[in-house]
Symmetry: C2
Subunit: 83 residues, 2 copies
DNA sequence: GACATATTACTGTTTAAGCGGTATATTACG
DNA sequence: CGTAATATACCGCTTAAACAGTAATATGTC
C-alpha cells in the first residue's frame, strides 16, 4: 500500500475515533484545516514536520524496518552512528 | 528519539552501506543532492514524497503503531474504511 | 424536507522546499 | 604531507506547501 494512502486512512480513522472534526482536530494538532483535508485525501507532498504534529496529536508512532535494520540497531548500541 | 533524527541516522547508515556518496545516492533516488544532505542533517521540513523516494531506494519500510491500531486493522478487514 | 454540521473545493498570499552550481571544509588514503 | 573524494555550506531560482477565508457539497439528525 502506498505510504500516503496508508497515512490517509490511519489519520482519518484515528481522528474520527477522537470525535473531532477536521477543523477542530487541526487546531489541537497545531496545523491548518486544509492540510488535514489534504492528508486524508492522500497528498504526497506534505512536510514531515506537519505529519509529525498530526501523529503526536493522534498518539501514532512511526517505525522503520529493512534488511539492514538489525545491523543498524547494533551499530547504535556500539555507539557507531556512522562509518 | 525525534523522528527526523531517527530518519537522519537510518538514512545515513543505509546509504553508507550502499557505498554511495550523497551525490551518487541522490541520483539513484531521483532527488537533489541538497535534500540528502538536509535529511542526514535532521531537517524536519522534508516532504513526504522526497522521503518516500529515499526509503524506496534504500529498501526501508515504514510502519505505524498506536493504541487504536488493532481496531484500525480490524476495520480494514471489515471494509469499513471510515465511520 | 429542513436544519445543523462536516467535508470538500477554490481563493490569494506568504514562506520555504527542492534544485543545481559552486565554494569551502572535512575526511580518507597513497 | 599532498591530493582526491566526500561532505558541508551558501547562492539564486522556481515551484508549491501551508494558511485562513469563503463557498459549495455532502452527511447526517430531527
Amino acid at each position: 500500500m502506498a505510504l500516503e494512502k496508508e497515512i490517509s486512512s490511519i489519520v482519518r480513522f484515528h481522528r474520527k475515533k477522537s470525535g473531532l472534526s477536521q477543523a477542530e482536530f487541526a487546531k489541537t494538532a497545531g496545523v491548518g484545516k486544509t492540510v488535514i483535508f489534504d492528508i486524508e485525501k492522500g497528498k504526497q507532498t506534505v512536510r514531515l514536520s506537519t505529519l509529525q504534529k498530526v501523529f503526536i496529536a493522534l498518539n501514532i508512532r512511526v517505525s522503520f524496518s529493512s534488511p539492514l535494520m538489525d545491523a543498524f540497531e547494533k551499530s547504535k548500541e556500539e555507539g557507531n552512528a556512522n562509518r
